[in-house]
């Protein structure tokens, strides 16, 4: 490395100490060779600063955003997972389960003479008959809907997987 050039570059960049700066300023004023080199590097420095940035294609931003959308990364993870929603769902299910348990336990009557468990359901409450459910038209349509939904979800999952592999 050329020590004079190195010092001059540091001087131009402003990375030398105040003492060095004062020494170099004096040298530039007094030494003709130093001054000429300084002018040369200063001009070079200005020239380097004029370099032009390259321009990507017109649809660059669109392509980036489209890739993000394709990956189904609609939101960064921090925004996508809201802990309050998860807590809300958890609390709802916990309360429902506890309420159901309390209701069931309150209506169970166990007699010790024989193993005989009876659940006293409230008046007017009838459990549906299983045989009627499987043969009803609504149930059949419900099954068809479930199958279509499952196929649709499987298709979208495989598409996403394929796109991720291509990227």
């Amino acid at each position: 490395m050329n020590p004079i050039e190195e010092k001059l570059w540091n001087y131009i960049d402003g990375t030398c100490s105040p003492t060095e700066q004062a020494t170099i300023t004096l040298l530039i004023e007094q030494d003709e060779a130093y001054r000429a080199k300084y002018q040369e590097l200063l001009q070079l420095n200005q020239e380097f600063a004029t370099m032009e940035l390259d321009e990507p294609s017109m649809g660059f931003t669109y392509k980036v955003m489209e890739t993000i959308r394709t990956e189904n990364a609609r939101q960064p993870l921090k925004a996508a997972i809201n802990p309050r929603i998860i807590w809300g769902i958890s609390i709802f299910f916990a309360i429902s389960i506890i309420a159901l348990l309390v209701f069931t336990i309150a209506n169970i009557h166990v007699t010790l003479s024989a193993v005989d468990v009876k659940i006293n359901l409230p008046a007017g409450f009838r459990l549906p008959k299983m045989g009627n459910i499987s043969s009803s038209q609504v149930f059949k349509w419900f099954l068809v809907f479930d199958v279509v939904l499952a196929l649709f979800l499987a298709d979208s999952y495989l598409r996403r997987k394929k796109t991720a592999k291509q990227l």
């Binding site: 490395m1 540091n10 960049d13 380097f48 940035l53 660059f60 960064p76 921090k78």
Partner: protein
């Protein structure tokens, strides 16, 4: 039209689920990211691929950006790492590039210029041409320093090097760039610098 919001404000909006804020961030930084990518790939198609990959990676990791460093420094770190991975994949390791060999084509290209052509070309054309002939590391440091508004400390952070190493590398890169300019312009270099 580009957004007048700061990078941090745009990041906050993006994290809140506003994707158009991220599109504004991309528009703001795309030229520089693309230029940095060009320093490594030397082909527009590959550079676009690298730059696109960088912005997607940055989007995924946006929640981890802690705003202690400038967003640009954080983004350029992603660009540098992505570009290095790209180079490794292409098996064009920076150190293995035969500098002299790399310029055979350039010198032939240069010989095609006649005096009139040289006069007609703009100064920035020759400068960009010389930068393209530098090794990726040299070209990156020069670009970050002159166009990225990055201090030596920030460049060191981006490249994962010591500040003093970057200082020495910058000095050498400038020397090499000057040599390339001289080589390309021959007699015209006196006019240019």
């Amino acid at each position: 039209m580009q957004s007048k919001l700061s990078d941090i404000e745009l990041i906050e909006q993006t994290l809140a689920g506003n994707q158009s804020a991220y599109a504004d961030l991309v528009k703001r930084h795309q030229r520089f990211v693309f230029t940095l990518s060009m320093r490594f790939s030397k082909s527009r198609e590959d550079a676009e691929e690298i730059a696109q990959d960088c912005f997607v990676k940055a989007f995924r990791a946006l929640a981890s950006y802690n705003a202690q460093a400038k967003f640009s420094t954080w983004l350029y770190t992603i660009v540098y790492n992505t570009a290095m991975t790209f180079l490794r994949k292409k098996r064009v390791a920076t150190e293995s590039i035969d500098e002299e060999g790399a310029f055979i084509q350039v010198e032939n290209h240069e010989s095609a210029y006649d005096a009139d052509n040289v006069e007609n070309k703009s100064r920035s054309f020759y400068l960009n041409q010389a930068i393209e002939q530098l090794l990726p590391d040299d070209a990156t440091i020069i670009t970050l320093f002159y166009k990225g508004e990055q201090s030596l400390e920030e460049i060191a952070q981006t490249l994962g090097m010591e500040t003093n190493t970057v200082k020495v590398k910058l000095f050498r890169a400038r020397q090499r760039l000057k040599d390339k300019l001289e080589r390309n312009l021959k007699h015209e270099v006196k006019e240019l610098i």
